[in-house]
């Protein structure tokens, strides 16, 4: 038996058996096989083997399809059911959630401190001095803004209550968690009145000072949303 001299064409015999060759290539392979004893024998073997290998095993396609449908009913198709949320909007939603949590947290702090909220002063806030009395400022422990000022609590100057003696300044040194019971009602009212006129009360929007959404929204508005 003559040996094949064109391994490339011989290698296409399985494609020929399966009808996967284009017309031109098929003609070339068939022409080669016509003059190549080894390839002719191999082609005959492949044609004998194919139905043998094809015969088994049998599976129930309808049963398998039913299982697919049952599974897809339990786990709905992503495209059909779950709306797609682009990356920018995911950031926006996360930021909104953060704002909501911060606002709630602040509200809880305010409620918990009751009238003592007057003592809650934030670092970096400007606090007017009671020049009428010229008394020494009484330190009040301030808290950082709810977000995202990462400074430790600081001592800041706060105008002491009317008529407070210099020695009372020490007594008026209270923290946000301390009780103001050492102050008289008049002192508290006075302190409240002076603080009400200031702009240092923490914003409800705890995210003031950061702009996590800025770039994102800009991106979104310019059509930069991901897909």
């Amino acid at each position: 038996m003559s040996e094949c001299t064109d391994g490339e064409l011989r290698d296409l015999l399985p494609e020929l058996v399966n009808g996967r060759l284009d017309a031109e290539t098929q003609r070339a392979v068939e022409a080669h096989v016509a003059g190549c004893e080894e390839c002719a024998e191999e082609l005959a073997l492949l044609r004998s083997l194919r139905p043998v290998l094809m015969r088994e095993p049998e599976v129930d396609a309808r049963k398998i399809a039913a299982a697919v449908h049952a599974q897809s009913a339990l786990q709905p198709r992503r495209d059909a059911v779950r709306p797609h949320v682009s990356a920018p909007w995911r950031v926006a939603i996360a930021a909104a959630a953060l704002l909501a949590v911060s606002a709630i947290g602040y509200a809880v702090v305010r409620r918990g401190s009751g009238s003592e909220e007057v003592a809650v002063v934030h670092a970096g806030d400007s606090i007017p001095k009671d020049t009428a009395h010229g008394t020494a400022p009484a330190p009040v422990v301030a808290t950082p803004r709810a977000a995202p000022v990462h400074e430790p609590p600081q001592q800041v100057a706060v105008t002491p209550p009317h008529g407070a003696a210099p020695g009372a300044a020490a007594a008026a040194s209270v923290g946000v968690l301390d009780n103001l019971s050492d102050l008289s009602d008049d002192d508290v009212r006075s302190l409240t009145a002076s603080l009400d006129g200031m702009s240092s009360v923490p914003d409800a929007d705890a995210s003031a000072g950061i702009d996590p959404l800025g770039a994102t929204l800009d991106d979104n508005s310019s059509g930069g949303g991901g897909t």
């Binding site: 399985p14 599976v59 299982a67």
Partner: protein, 179 residues
């Protein structure tokens, strides 16, 4: 009236659009091919179960199918991974060797109940002597006409290795038949 048959890509798009019949059509088109491949890997007793798992997984993660290979090749890849996991599980339970040994026998046993000619019996016996890897590659090549590249993707190998396995398998079969 022409008998229009949508291709895989169109059926996949239809299924994604909510048409359940498209999935049925895809299963009917490919299930038998996947089953043959699974059987060639040595999973003869639980072929239908593996094929079913293959399709369930495929449709459950169809979003990850990018069309870089054909849908059938992708299915074969999933099937191969499932078979490998099963065989690893058996190995852990120390049944692996027994099943592999049995597999050669079961290939011949599968002939029982069928009226096979002497030639067919010899062919089956020759195929049964192949290693699982040789048999799966040879089956994909002969029954599907897959290219070596497609086969390499399906079996997790390289084109070169697939080519060598195929030619070794062909040589072994011819030698067996010539005995």
């Amino acid at each position: 009236m022409t008998n229009y048959s949508p291709d895989d890509a169109e059926l996949i798009a239809r299924w994604r659009g909510g048409e359940e019949r498209a999935a049925t059509a895809l299963v009917e088109r490919h299930a038998q091919h996947v089953a043959r491949f699974v059987a060639s890997l040595g999973e003869r007793d639980e072929v239908e179960e593996v094929v079913q798992d293959t399709f369930v997984r495929a449709f459950g993660s169809l979003d990850s199918f990018r069309g870089e290979s054909s849908f059938r090749t992708w299915l074969l890849t999933i099937a191969r991974n499932l078979v490998r996991d099963r065989q690893r599980g058996r190995k852990r339970t120390r049944l692996h060797v027994e099943i592999q040994d049995d597999d050669i026998v079961s290939s011949s046993d599968a002939l029982e109940g069928t009226v096979a000619t002497e030639t067919e019996q010899r062919l089956r016996a020759a195929v049964a002597t192949l290693s699982p890897m040789q048999r799966s590659i040879f089956t994909l090549r002969v029954t599907e006409g897959l290219s070596y590249k497609e086969i390499a993707i399906a079996v997790g190998s390289t084109e070169g290795a697939a080519r060598v396995h195929y030619h070794n398998a062909m040589r072994a079969i011819r030698e067996k038949i010539d005995e």
